[in-house]
């Protein structure tokens, strides 16, 4: 406890760093997955290649990626952007399938009746398909969010500081308190973020109460 109080400022800094490194990739990954997943759900020929591509992306090991990205985009090795990009790729890989399935679940008769009412193709995509795919997409985002929070800690291995830095330091110094505090904060962050997603779902998808857990 005394250690926590003594390092309060640093813990807060690390938490903020960890937070944006977690949220940004999920949001970006989702925005990228949205058009790809939608297209995959509407055009059968595109579905299999899109989903396999997602699987391949997800199977790339993260450490090499963290080393390669700086050399491709010319950032320094310690730049947090590298971590953000890596995790965006994973979130994208995870969410393409979710988004495709979410759009695939929208009942055909609702789509037919929307078309019959005179929605144009784009009006229908944005004001009918998108919201109706919302609950399933939110479920996927929650999974991606939790996994991203824990993946961020890998960044500490290449020197990008975040709550994972508490693990690496704790190991080096055989200092268990630091490791435990790190773990507690990571888990707490994951839970708080998850609660935020649920809340967002309640606000944006009021009609789906009971469907969005």
């Amino acid at each position: 406890m005394t250690w926590v109080r003594a390092n309060q400022d640093r813990l807060v800094d690390l938490t903020w760093q960890h937070l944006w490194l977690s949220v940004l990739p999920v949001v970006l990954g989702f925005l990228l997955a949205l058009p790809v997943g939608w297209y995959a759900s509407r055009f059968r020929g595109f579905r299999a290649p899109a989903l396999s591509f997602g699987g391949v992306l997800y199977s790339i090991p993260s450490l090499p990626l963290l080393v390669i990205i700086p050399s491709i985009i010319g950032t320094s090795f310690l730049d947090p952007i590298n971590v953000a990009i890596t995790l965006t790729i994973y979130a994208l890989a995870l969410l393409v399938r979710t988004v495709a399935d979410a759009f695939g679940q929208v009942p055909a008769e609702v789509l037919d009746s929307a078309s019959a009412s005179g929605y144009s193709r784009w009006q229908r995509a944005f004001t009918v398909e998108l919201p109706l795919a919302g609950p399933a997409m939110l479920a996927g985002i929650r999974v991606a969010s939790v996994s991203t929070v824990s993946l961020v800690t890998i960044g500490a291995l290449v020197g990008v500081s975040n709550l994972g830095s508490l693990f690496t330091e704790g190991f080096q110094r055989y200092f268990n308190t630091e490791i435990i505090v790190g773990m507690v904060l990571v888990v707490a962050l994951a839970l708080v973020l998850d609660a935020c997603w649920v809340l967002l779902g309640r606000v944006l998808l009021p009609w789906a109460r009971g469907k969005v857990v």
């Binding site: 008769e109 609702v110 078309s115 019959a116 005179g118 929605y119 109706l132």
Partner: protein
């Protein structure tokens, strides 16, 4: 007036869903397409608002080929009611009904007011308007579907088994209401069902279809019952099952109508 001219439709790589179909649907009357599952009713219905385009042939509305009309604008001018109501689960009932008006550019406030009027017309109470479709019973949802079909006051109303998914009592109720509405509004209605009783109840003109959209017989319900074109029609309308063949029997000075087995079904009015 809606006119089908030598319509054929083949979905990619399938057999012909509709072979060679021609029909004229007079304005301000109800025409019912009736036939068993898969005979092409929905396919034919959806050609009117271009949700399906024919492989060959033409559909004309008031002598204008619908193929020359822009599909989205065409659909906005035609009411459509379907089996599972097809309501938008994420919009409140009132907004569901207002949808066709909103799409046609009517201001939100006016659209909602007109939606409330339409809901009242189909016998729904105003407090249901604020609910989501998922919170309504099947029969209520079906009424909402009808209200949505009527709200923009289209000349043409397409109805695809609109009462197929509700229990018999609610269905009878909805059918009666539809008859009353039609008396009042005089729309050109094209109605699809596989229930011959419903067809005879609602149709001014009834079209009995075989597989592949082949017309077995067209006529008023009375004409079809009086002279069924062939065995298929006889069997389809139930003339071979006895309950349509009625006789009059004298009982206590009253003329009682009985079916083939002698079961009474009513009395003759004096």
């Amino acid at each position: 007036m809606i006119e089908y001219r030598s319509i054929a439709k083949t979905y990619d790589d399938g057999p012909a869903a509709v072979g060679d179909f021609s029909l004229t649907i007079p304005s301000r009357t109800t025409t019912v397409l009736v036939g068993s599952s898969g005979c092409g009713k929905t396919t034919l219905l959806r050609m009117v608002n271009r949700m399906v385009d024919p492989t060959s042939g033409q559909v004309l509305i008031d002598d204008v080929d619908v193929a020359t009309r822009e599909p989205v604008a065409l659909r906005r001018s035609i009411g459509y009611v379907m089996q599972q109501a097809g309501l938008l689960p994420h919009r409140k009932v009132v907004d569901n009904v207002a949808t066709p008006l909103r799409l046609a550019g009517v201001h939100k406030k006016e659209a909602r007011e007109r939606a409330l009027v339409a809901l009242e017309r189909v016998g729904l109470e105003a407090d249901l308007a604020r609910k989501y479709p998922g919170q309504l019973s099947g029969g209520q949802q079906q009424r909402v579907g009808v209200a949505r079909g009527l709200v923009a006051d289209p000349n043409i109303l397409l109805m695809d088994e609109p009462f197929g998914a509700v229990d018999p009592i609610v269905r009878a109720d909805l059918q009666q209401q539809m008859l009353e509405l039609q008396q009042e509004l005089g729309k050109t209605i094209l109605f699809v069902t596989h229930d011959i009783e419903e067809a005879f109840l609602l149709g001014d003109q009834v079209v009995i279809l075989r597989k592949g959209g082949v017309v077995a017989q067209v006529g008023t319900p009375a004409e079809i019952l009086a002279s069924p074109a062939d065995d298929f029609v006889s069997s389809f309308v139930g003339l071979d099952r006895g309950h349509r063949k009625l006789r009059i029997k004298e009982v206590d000075g009253q003329q009682v109508v009985v079916d083939e087995q002698g079961r009474p079904t009513g009395v003759l009015a004096p």
